[in-house]
Amino acid sequence: MEIALVGLVAVFFAVAVYLLLSKSIIRMLLGIVVIGNAVNLVLFTAGRLTAEVPPIIPAGEYVPLAGSANPLPQALILTAIVIGFALFAFLLVLGYRAYQELDADNTDTMRLAEPEDAPRPPLSY
């Protein structure tokens, strides 16, 4: 099970890196989503996968049964998903606004903050 997830994570990362290397903002946004999910799966796998026993303490017991699932990575992933979703929503709106205002989905033509024809360094002291 772990091996399969590790393989999936590797595929996700490859896809994400490929998409993030694109010039197009919309592809980069998709890359961001994929890399976020890849990282969440890493977190999930790092917590060990023991799926058979739910992490609930049965009546009359004081500790969880042996071999029960680890609830902490799930709490961590939940937090990470919420945060990642909020940031992604912001980036999505930002990308759309940038497309509207700058008329560019191509990072090569987004040179307002760093103009391409920047003046040469001043030579006088």
């Binding site: 961001i32 977190l43 790092a46 940031l87 606004r97 920047a118």
Partner: protein, 527 residues
């Protein structure tokens, strides 16, 4: 009827006695910032109350940070664990001198910016929540400095990130959107790598608490430790804008309002540097040792490329952005040394850098208001028009380059001494060259903006007719608050003794985190 839990032995898992009231000061800065931000969102229609409340809350954060620093001075590191669970099960907040000092410097900078912002933040930006976002940003920064849990650190990073997203697009000019796209994507990527490093660290050790990690991470297999340390270094280096992951900073920091630029330049990159020092010194000291050549190379390149970039700029804000990067190089040089002098020097440098670079951006903002442009080539003659501003600016030029007797000199002294003692001559040369190049870049800005009569070109010897005088409000808020911050920098530079003691303590606790661990586990170890 007897409780079914009577036979259960609670103490090993639960905190029995409440944390002493005085120790709650660890969470005050964060709690005040979050409550203040919430309150200001509710009052978003009331412009007059926004400013007063924001100033009151940030002032209260400064006061609690001062108290925190004093407590840490007397009693050593402080800790508090949430939700009655004993550490490492509950989430701990823990402040040693490093965290407390950074948090104090950050809140002082933010307080100055609150006053400065009144000269330029218009009512539309007020309505869109400049002050709530500022408080959230400060809460995220202080939380990052004071938390004692690595996943919690990630959460504070994100609090800081999302509020900085809000601040950078506030106003919505085209150039801001362009800058925000680059800032947003690359910072999101950095935090993703940070989270992945946390995942591996958790998978290897089974804990997230810094103090608990410090005692467990030593037993890790070397290869795994090196991988995790390298991932952390990459993530934090990107956050801190260290070479080669620095390109986002000069692309974005000059685009928002100057108050926002000042906050970002002063506060945000230092959080990345702080996290790198905390994780690599306390949690993974052996990983840091193995990565030392890499960190040294990164530090050297960052120290040289920062001021060289500044030298090539004609935009005043972008030039300062490159100076921010140069300072990050000095911080990583301290981390590469990893000795008492190195870490102490890095802590002192960060304190200096938070205050000085905020002030530098603010002073540049006043210059921009007078000349109506960001282009250094079109400026000139401000010495004649506003002599006090030129003195403030020249003090900052000397402070940022590290000339005595200003604040920037003392951390450089510590770092150079540490480098000489460790025999790291490349780093020593880099630090000294960094100072020289920074001095050249910054003093040339001063010469062009203040000393030269008029703009570049044929009319450079004639008086500059483009300048306008500052209005009353601009004099009071913009120039006034900049002067106050610069005065603080001068006083701290003239009387650096307590800062030396404090940074010495900070370095000591980073190198040997026994006191930090004891503070976090005080409740567990109580007989």
């Amino acid at each position: 009827m007897a409780s079914p839990y009577e036979s259960l032995d609670l103490p090993p898992a639960m905190i029995e006695s409440a944390t002493p009231a005085a120790d709650w000061v660890v969470v005050w800065p964060v709690a005040l910032a979050l409550v203040g931000a919430g309150l200001l969102v509710m009052l978003r229609g009331r412009r007059d109350m926004q400013v007063a409340f924001a100033a009151a809350f940030v002032a209260a954060i400064v006061v609690s940070n001062i108290y925190l620093v004093m407590r840490v001075f007397e009693a050593g590191p402080l800790a508090m664990t949430m939700g009655r669970w004993l550490p490492p099960f509950g989430i701990s907040f823990a402040a040693d001198m490093t965290g407390a000092l950074f948090s104090l410097a950050a809140s002082v900078s933010a307080l100055v910016v609150v006053f400065y912002a009144q000269s330029e933040i218009d009512s539309r930006e007020h309505r869109f929540g400049f002050y709530p976002l500022l408080l959230l940003l400060l809460g995220g920064v202080c939380g990052s400095f004071l938390t004692g849990d690595v996943f919690n650190l990630y959460v504070w990073f994100e609090v800081m990130l999302i509020s900085s997203f809000g601040l950078i697009v506030l106003g919505g000019r085209k150039v801001q959107l362009d800058g925000a796209v680059k800032y947003g994507f690359l910072n999101f990527l950095a935090t993703s790598f940070f989270l992945m490093a946390i995942a591996y660290l958790y998978g290897l050790t089974g804990t997230l608490n810094f103090a608990d990690l410090a005692s467990k991470a030593d037993d890790l297999p070397l290869g795994a430790m090196l991988t995790v340390a390298a991932l952390f270094l990459f993530a934090f280096g990107m956050k801190a804008a260290a070479f080669p992951a620095n390109a986002w900073l000069p692309a974005s920091y000059h685009t928002p309002a100057i108050s926002v630029s000042a906050l970002f330049g002063g506060l945000l990159t230092k959080v990345g540097a702080y996290a790198a020092i905390r994780v690599l010194m306390v949690v993974l000291p052996e990983g840091r040792l193995m990565l030392e050549p890499v960190i040294a190379a990164v530090a050297l390149a960052t120290m040289l490329l920062g001021p060289l970039g500044a030298l090539a700029q004609t935009n005043i804000r972008r030039a300062i952005g490159f100076l921010v990067i140069g300072g990050i190089g000095a911080l990583f040089a301290g981390l590469a040394l990893g000795t008492q002098h190195g870490i102490g020097g890095a802590v002192l440098y960060a304190t200096h850098s938070i205050l000085t670079l905020t002030a530098f951006y603010l002073a540049a903002g006043v210059v921009e208001k007078m000349s109506g442009t960001q282009d250094i080539r079109l400026m000139g003659g401000i010495y004649a028009a506003n002599a006090p501003l030129s003195i403030v600016f020249v003090v900052l030029v000397f402070a940022v380059a590290g000339l005595p007797p200003f604040l920037g000199f003392w951390p450089k002294l510590l770092l150079v001494e540490g480098g000489v003692r460790a025999g790291q001559w490349f780093l020593v040369a880099g630090l000294l060259l960094n100072s020289l190049l920074t001095l050249m870049a910054a003093s040339r800005i001063w010469a062009h903006v203040f000393w030269r009569n008029g703009p570049e070109g044929e009319r450079s010897e004639q008086p500059n007719t483009m300048l306008r005088a500052l209005t009353g409000a601009e004099k009071r808020y913009a120039l006034g608050s900049t002067v106050v911050l610069v005065a603080l920098i001068v006083v701290l530079g003239l009387f650096p003794n307590w800062l030396f003691t404090a940074s010495g303590m900070a370095g000591f606790d980073m190198l040997d985190p026994t006191r930090y661990i004891d503070a976090v586990f005080a409740e567990v170890n109580r007989p």
